[in-house]
């Protein structure tokens, strides 16, 4: 007879800790973004201390507006990065939706309908990226590098390489969306609403949970019945959709379709998402963090102007800030993980 005393004929041990009342996870999410928020506030305070005009309401509003376009691209990018994918074509999608929207409006379509069509086109372009990545099985990095040129080239071809103008700037679409609502630019309101909606989608819905699962361990996700390919396509569609939203907002403000805009925006969007706490390894992400990341990039760009830094150095400075932010974030996360390990052991 085998001795079984070691394996559970004695009373079962109690669970290490009794079940606490379920707590809202938003507390955890806010704690994750606290570091980025501190960096943003510190930047604004420090720059303002040297350049008091920086704190003027008009300046801060303008910084917020400028950050909205990258911010909305970054919101979409979170969904791709959280799944270990990357969409390098968002700059091209952004340019193409601006041009298509402008052409449709110029040809007599209602700007409101044109905006919806342009956003839908953005979603469709993201969907195409998803198909390439999943069914043709080309890594998203390569696939979207190709579609970046494709979409950019299409924007240039459709507009003959020229700005699409002649739009009715007195139309309510341009006045409301491109203007200010309750003292804030329409683009800022769009950013806030998008961030609120997509934070809920990412953290509180089955779709968000599936994205995090696929990004964390695709094999585990597939084994539990999550349709991995479908989730990938949906996520990249969301990324494209928000590139479309960003393009429409830019069109509403500039009242013209410039095919050359959006160059380098994909890298800015990725940088904003990473600064905000969405790691390239996937499995997690932060929509509010991405918004804060885009604000940090805009504050840096604006502060360089205030300090009269030569224009040729701005890209260098932006790169330095990105590296600093990512390094700091990595250090903080490692410290937090070490602290968690020591408390759980």
């Amino acid at each position: 007879m085998t001795d079984r005393s070691a394996t559970g004929t004695e009373p079962p041990p109690a669970v290490e800790s009794a079940a606490p009342p379920p707590r809202r996870r938003s507390v955890t999410w806010l704690r994750e973004e606290a570091g980025v928020l501190v960096v943003l506030v510190a930047l604004v305070v420090v720059v303002g201390a040297f350049q008091p005009d920086f704190w003027l309401a008009d300046n801060l509003t303008e910084i917020a507006r400028q950050s909205s376009y990258i911010g909305i691209l970054a919101i979409g990018m979170v969904f791709a990065l959280a799944m270990r994918e990357v969409d390098l074509s968002v700059g091209g999608t952004y340019a193409l939706t601006i041009v298509v929207g402008a052409l449709l409006i110029r040809d007599g379509l209602s700007p409101w309908i044109a905006a919806v069509v342009a956003i839908a086109i953005g979603g469709f372009l993201g969907f195409l990226n998803g198909l390439f990545t999943t069914y043709v099985q080309v890594p998203s990095f390569i696939a979207t590098l190709g579609t970046l040129s494709l979409y950019k080239g299409l924007a240039l071809a459709l507009s003959n390489g020229q700005q699409v103008g002649g739009l009715d700037q007195d139309h309510p679409f341009f006045q409301v969306i491109g203007g200010t609502i309750l003292g804030l630019p329409g683009a800022v309101w769009a950013l806030v609403l998008s961030a609120a909606l997509m934070t809920v989608v990412f953290t509180r819905t089955r779709f968000g949970a599936q994205i995090r699962a696929v990004g964390s361990n695709p094999d585990a996700a597939a084994f539990t019945g999550i349709p991995v390919n479908r989730v990938r396509i949906k996520a990249l569609t969301v990324t494209g959709l928000f590139a479309g939203v960003s393009g429409v907002l830019a069109l509403s403000f500039f009242v013209a379709g410039d095919p050359t805009v959006g160059t380098g925006y994909e890298l800015m969007a990725i940088a904003a998402a990473i600064i905000g706490g969405t790691p390239l390894r996937g499995g997690t992400g932060s929509v509010p963090g991405a918004v804060l990341g885009s604000l940090i990039l805009s504050v840096v760009a604006a502060s360089l102007v205030f300090f009269s830094v030569p224009i040729n150095w701005t890209t260098f400075a932006t790169g330095a800030v990105i590296l600093l932010a990512v390094a700091l974030d990595s250090l903080l996360r490692r410290a937090r993980a070490a602290r968690r390990r020591s408390t759980s052991s």
């Binding site: 001795d3 559970g8 809202r24 968000g208 995090r212 585990a220 499995g283 759980s344």
Partner: protein, 280 residues
């Protein structure tokens, strides 16, 4: 030898197995991985599946779990003939499999992993976090699992705790059969005891448990019956309480004149009457 059930009583033979397989064959190209293999497990019973590398254990597990359907043979589930063409078909029948690589998402918390792919929602869209957390605690408590918090990422759990989460997750679908593929591999002594405790809890709940293991001590600690596979064929079936390590090693290797078997026999005859499990 008399088969025994989970309660340690001899089987009357009237208890129909929850899962039984007869004449199972599986070929991979020129390699015949399984030849005419038979297997059965009853409710409230732990059946250990042992064998050397390449014996066909993993292949048989894949047949049971739907990951690699059999080429031929009959499978009965609760007395009904069934086919298991896919993992989802296996899960729908009530067969849960915990693979060796655990299939956990490291950066998701315990709740996220337990409900992976089966999230509890409000209106089919919004996650019901409170309900999932409550059910996680209830499940872990019934299994007497030692998890410090259900809101920490599984990456920060020990090997035994991770295995506990993986096994617990398999129970959420209320399965009738749980297949554990090498659950104690690469675990320390305390963590192994924790997992073996969990296996006993599963049996106490009336589940049929299939345990794949290389560790004879683990097998003899929790199994009721031991099924030996060798070169893709049945090589013996033993009562875990009555069989010695020597007999098991002999069945696994196909011979008794090998160093491992000799050493096991010597230890069995040792002055203290010590009977240690052998890693095969």
């Amino acid at each position: 030898m008399t088969a025994t059930t989970g309660a340690g009583r001899p089987s009357t033979g009237t208890d129909a197995p929850v899962l039984s397989m007869t004449g199972i064959n599986k070929r991979f190209g020129a390699v015949q991985a399984l030849t005419d293999v038979s297997f059965s497990v009853q409710a409230g019973e732990v059946v250990a599946l042992v064998g050397d590398n390449g014996a066909g254990k993993s292949t048989l597990v894949k047949v049971m779990s739907g990951a690699g359907p059999a080429d031929s043979g009959e499978i009965l589930f609760e007395g009904r003939p069934v086919s298991i063409p896919s993992p989802s078909a296996s899960q729908n029948l009530g067969i849960a499999t915990v693979f060796q690589d655990l299939a956990l998402c490291d950066n998701l918390d315990v709740v996220g992993n337990l409900f992976l792919g089966n999230e509890v929602t409000i209106g089919g869209v919004a996650l019901d976090e409170a309900e999932m957390e409550k059910r996680s605690w209830e499940l872990l408590r019934t299994l007497a699992a030692k998890i410090p918090s259900v809101r920490i990422p599984v990456a920060s759990l020990s090997g035994g705790q991770r295995q506990t989460v993986a096994i617990s997750r398999s129970l959420l679908g209320n399965p009738k059969v749980v297949i554990l593929d090498e659950p104690t591999a690469a675990l320390g002594v305390a963590q192994t005891a924790q997992v073996l405790n969990l296996v006993e809890r599963l049996r106490d709940r009336g589940l049929a448990v299939v345990l794949i293991s290389h560790n004879m001590a683990d097998v003899q600690a929790v199994a009721d019956r031991v099924l030996v596979l060798r070169l893709g064929r049945n090589a013996g079936e033993f009562d875990a309480r009555a069989v010695s390590s020597t007999e098991l090693v002999a069945a696994i290797t196909g011979a008794s004149d090998n160093v491992v078997a000799e050493r096991a026999a010597r230890e069995h005859r040792g002055p203290a009457g010590r009977h240690e499990g052998t890693n095969a």
